[in-house]
């Protein structure tokens, strides 16, 4: 287990360094700069700004300055929001995005695991077909369609929930959770069904049933542990995907999360913010993949080596 962790960390460092270097190069080679404004900025002011943000230095100097800054945890000031550091912006957006991702994954697990178990217990019956085909639809509908549809139905026509915000009005967290969680619920359902079907056909389950254990005990105690392995393996990338990919949902519902900061930073050429959030997202993805591998290894002896 320890060697697995060490090996992963060993790989993570060059990966992060590559991410930093590539992002740095791409950001600086993109046409248009952070200080291109509609109202022309005078050359004197532009010079002042470049000096303040260290942009008057050669690119290599900027690169190594940046590297040495992030080593001590300084991601620099944001170019878009004077007086705010990248660290401040990330720490503002992260809890929101994390909360949204967490609710979505809980929703996905609750719906997905139940539907998957039902499908596996009664394969090829309506109890299997209906949830599974619904799951297929769930996977196929992009959030950009699902979100506005939910808004229209529950927000505008039925007037049950607010259509925008996050913690600004009661009930405003529901629609974003549903929108973001649905596709993942569908994946969970299909993975659970597959995993459970495989386990339910194994000898030890037959033994358990032969011993006269109740069906619930067979499923919950014996089958779930192995049957959920694919879902658990999926959770890490899913969590990372939810954190990094919630931008669309954040935009649809006006959620002040990290995804929105990230994409806006790209449009604003907020160099430090783009770099800072890219590094941060890479770090998250690496970490969550590692965690999910560790959990999977703990659950499944076959994966330990």
């Amino acid at each position: 287990m320890l060697s697995l962790i060490l090996r992963r960390i060993g790989i993570a460092i060059p990966v992060l360094l590559t991410v930093i270097t590539l992002t740095f190069l791409m950001v600086h080679s993109a046409p248009g700069g952070p200080f291109d404004e509609e109202k022309a900025v005078s050359p004197e002011v532009l010079m002042k700004l470049n000096e303040k943000y260290n942009l008057d230095q050669p690119l290599t100097t900027q690169y190594f300055d940046y590297l040495s800054d992030i080593l001590v945890g300084d991601f620099g000031p944001s170019f878009r929001y004077p007086g705010r550091s990248v660290t401040e912006l990330i720490s503002l957006g992260l809890p929101v995005t994390f909360e949204l991702a967490l609710y979505s994954i809980l929703f996905a697990l609750a719906i997905g695991v139940v539907a998957g178990i039902l499908g596996a217990l009664k394969p090829n019956t309506p109890l299997d077909y209906i949830p599974m085909s619904t799951a297929m639809i769930g996977i196929c509908i992009p959030s950009i369609i699902l979100g506005p549809s939910l808004i229209l139905i529950f927000g505008i026509w039925l007037e049950w929930v607010p259509v925008s915000g996050w913690g600004y009005m009661p009930g405003d967290k529901l629609l974003p959770t549903l929108t973001l969680g649905t596709a993942y619920a569908a994946y969970c359902a299909r993975l659970t069904r597959g995993g459970m079907l495989e386990i339910l056909n194994q000898d030890f389950i037959r033994t358990a049933r032969a011993k006269g254990l109740s069906e619930i005990r067979v499923v919950v105690v014996h089958a779930l542990r192995g049957g959920l392995t694919p879902v658990i393996a999926f959770l890490g990338p899913a969590m990372a995907g939810l954190l990094a990919g919630s931008f669309v949902v954040e935009t649809i519902f006006g959620i002040p999360g990290l995804g929105r900061f990230y994409v806006e930073a790209a449009f604003n050429r907020d160099y430090t913010m783009i770099l800072g959030s890219s590094i941060f997202f890479s770090f998250l993805i690496i970490t969550f993949n590692l965690i999910s591998d560790l959990i999977a290894a703990a659950l499944n002896p076959k994966l330990r080596d």
């Binding site: 993109a30 046409p31 248009g32 700069g33 952070p34 291109d36 404004e37 509609e38 109202k39 022309a40 900025v41 005078s42 004197e44 002011v45 002042k48 700004l49 303040k52 000031p77 929001y81 004077p82 007086g83 705010r84 912006l89 503002l92 957006g93 609750a110 719906i111 139940v114 178990i117 039902l118 506005p148 808004i151 229209l152 529950f154 927000g155 505008i156 007037e159 049950w160 929930v161 607010p162 259509v163 925008s164 915000g165 996050w166 600004y168 009005m169 009661p170 009930g171 529901l174 549903l178 935009t251 649809i252 006006g254 002040p256 929105r260 900061f261 806006e264 449009f267 604003n268 050429r269």
Partner: protein, 531 residues
């Protein structure tokens, strides 16, 4: 069967929210105004910000010498209760009223001197210093030619008297003082959190902010909401009916539309283009289409041949059917432009007319020595947006039909679009300009030789001289006459081709009172109520 209950949980949660009353429904009681406010403000420092969303919030937080009239007429007294104009319009003496900062300190004439010094300090890097360039030596100080601020024409005679000396009689000076960049700041607060010229000073954060406006800064949640609360120390607090205003940053027009329809905001900042026609029928009492002090135009790069030929530019302009564009393409009540400066019904009314005359256009083209065969292809640059795209396509077609010229459409993201214009790497580019104050100078001055936003490479000595003469004239009529002449030159030379005058199109809930339409789309909140 137990498991099925899990399906019902989310639905139950949904139902449980059924009795939520919407903020807008409750607002006649709560007196909270909810406004859609475009993009997230960069900052709330009047001397460093440049955007419209910032200006809407600053209007609640800081008051200058004068305030904008709620109906768009001449500005009303603000911190200055009165003023004298002498020396042929070159000297202004402002008498300040007994107003207080939100921490209880009195607002003094020195606060204005300090603020204007800060604004003009080259080291602050303000992008709007030219707002004060009419003041004696202000430009010199801003450009670092002089370093002694006492030479600049602004003096505090005593705590309540401010004297301003101008280079020229500038009849628009009072109008200009309604702009947020000329508002005072509280010196001890600025210096508690940094230097006079430090960028990104933390004084604008809630808790730190000290203002003198009708509202105080209560909360600022990035990408979520800025809340301001009624300021009991405001000099005209009795007039203020609202308890709070929530400025919601909404950069997505569909979301804003949903929020309005579900009663989460009172006023939107725009409407999805495709819904304008529908809403005219569905929400006739809510949809607002008002003239706006701005022009949508095409910028021509005179550095690219044959666009340096005036006849070609005239031919391009003559082949545009502006009425067709406003009625069939833009469809938001826009007014076909007949000049660069938008017409102001209370004052300046440009004398020019931009006609649609394909016959004459063809004639001019051949006069310039070009035919369909030898005319090069032009690139039309615009920033990615459905609205700009539709207009660009219409223009492409009109120019093709009339002149046979081929136009390649290029859309880029905002920053690339700006950077290509700043580096003269374009042939024809879409542009728009909204006047900062209600005076033709805020448009015509832009086309003077070498101005930062000229960007066309166009330079005309007579035009420049006319603008100088206009700024030296004391009588408004005389001044307008010079500007009319300048406008005629501009519309004959056409380094820019105006297309239409903007309109402000937005939704407003019927409970909002005291919100009148005006050219600058400025709505002082102390005149607004919710009933």
């Amino acid at each position: 069967m137990k498991l099925k209950i899990l399906y019902i949980v989310p639905l139950l949660l949904l139902f449980s929210c059924g009795d939520n009353a919407r903020p807008v429904e409750l607002s006649p009681e709560t007196k909270i105004l909810y406004l859609g406010n475009g993009t997230e403000p960069k900052d709330l420092d009047p001397h460093t910000v440049t955007g419209v969303p910032e200006s809407k919030i600053l209007m609640a937080l800081i008051e200058g010498l004068v305030i904008r009239h709620p109906e768009g007429k001449d500005p009303l007294p603000g911190i200055a209760k009165d003023w004298d104009i002498s020396l042929g319009g070159k000297e202004y003496t402002f008498y300040l009223r007994d107003a207080l900062w939100s921490n209880g300190d009195p607002v003094t004439a020195n606060d204005f001197v300090y603020a204007w010094k800060r604004m003009l300090l080259p080291s602050l890097g303000s992008q709007y210093p030219d707002m004060l360039y009419d003041i004696v030596n202000a430009e010199e100080f801003n450009k670092g030619l002089i370093t002694d601020f006492s030479l600049v024409g602004v003096k505090a005679i005593d705590d309540k008297t401010l004297k301003v000396t101008l280079n020229n009689p500038a009849p628009y000076f009072i109008e200009l003082l309604a702009h947020y960049t000329t508002r005072p700041v509280h010196q001890p607060t600025i210096e508690k959190h940094g230097e006079i010229d430090s960028l990104g000073n933390q004084w604008t954060r809630p808790g730190n902010f000290v203002g003198n406006g009708p509202f105080t800064l209560e909360e600022w949640k990035l990408n979520q909401v800025i809340k301001v609360k009624k300021n009991p120390l405001y000099w005209d607090a009795d007039r203020v009916k609202l308890n709070e205003i929530h400025f919601l940053p909404i950069d997505n027009v569909s979301r804003e539309d949903f929020m309005f329809r579900s009663g989460q905001i009172h006023v939107t900042s725009s409407i999805p283009t495709e819904k304008i026609e529908v809403y005219k029928d569905e929400y006739p009492n809510n949809i607002n289409i008002n003239p706006y002090y701005g022009t949508y135009y095409y910028r021509i790069n005179l550095g690219k041949s044959p666009l340096d030929n005036k006849l070609i530019r005239q031919a391009l302009s003559l082949s545009i059917d502006r009425e067709k564009i406003t009625e069939k393409v833009a469809k938001g009540g826009q007014i076909p432009a007949f000049s660069f400066t938008p017409p102001d019904p209370n004052g300046y009314y440009p004398p020019t007319r931009l006609e649609f005359n394909p016959q004459k256009a063809k004639q001019l083209l051949s006069q310039a020595g070009y035919t369909e065969e030898n005319l090069p292809t032009f690139e039309l640059l615009y920033n990615t947006s459905e609205g700009h795209q539709k207009i660009a396509e219409a223009m492409q077609q009109m120019w093709k039909e009339t002149l046979g010229v081929n136009i390649v459409l290029t859309n880029t993201d905002w920053k690339v679009y700006l950077s290509r214009q700043n580096t003269s790497d374009f042939e024809i580019a879409r542009a728009g300009w909204i006047g900062d104050y209600q005076d033709p100078k805020s448009f015509l001055d832009m086309m003077v030789t070498g101005r930062g936003n000229n960007l066309t490479g166009w330079s005309n000595e007579t035009y420049d001289t006319l603008l100088v003469k206009a700024s030296q004239s004391y009588s408004q009529d005389e001044r307008y006459n010079y500007l009319y002449e300048a406008e005629k030159i501009l519309m004959d030379e056409l380094p820019i081709i105006p297309i239409y005058t903007y309109t402000r199109i937005y939704m407003k809930h019927e409970s909002v009172k005291g919100w009148s339409s005006n050219l600058l789309d400025s709505h002082p909140y102390q005149y607004i109520d919710i009933e």
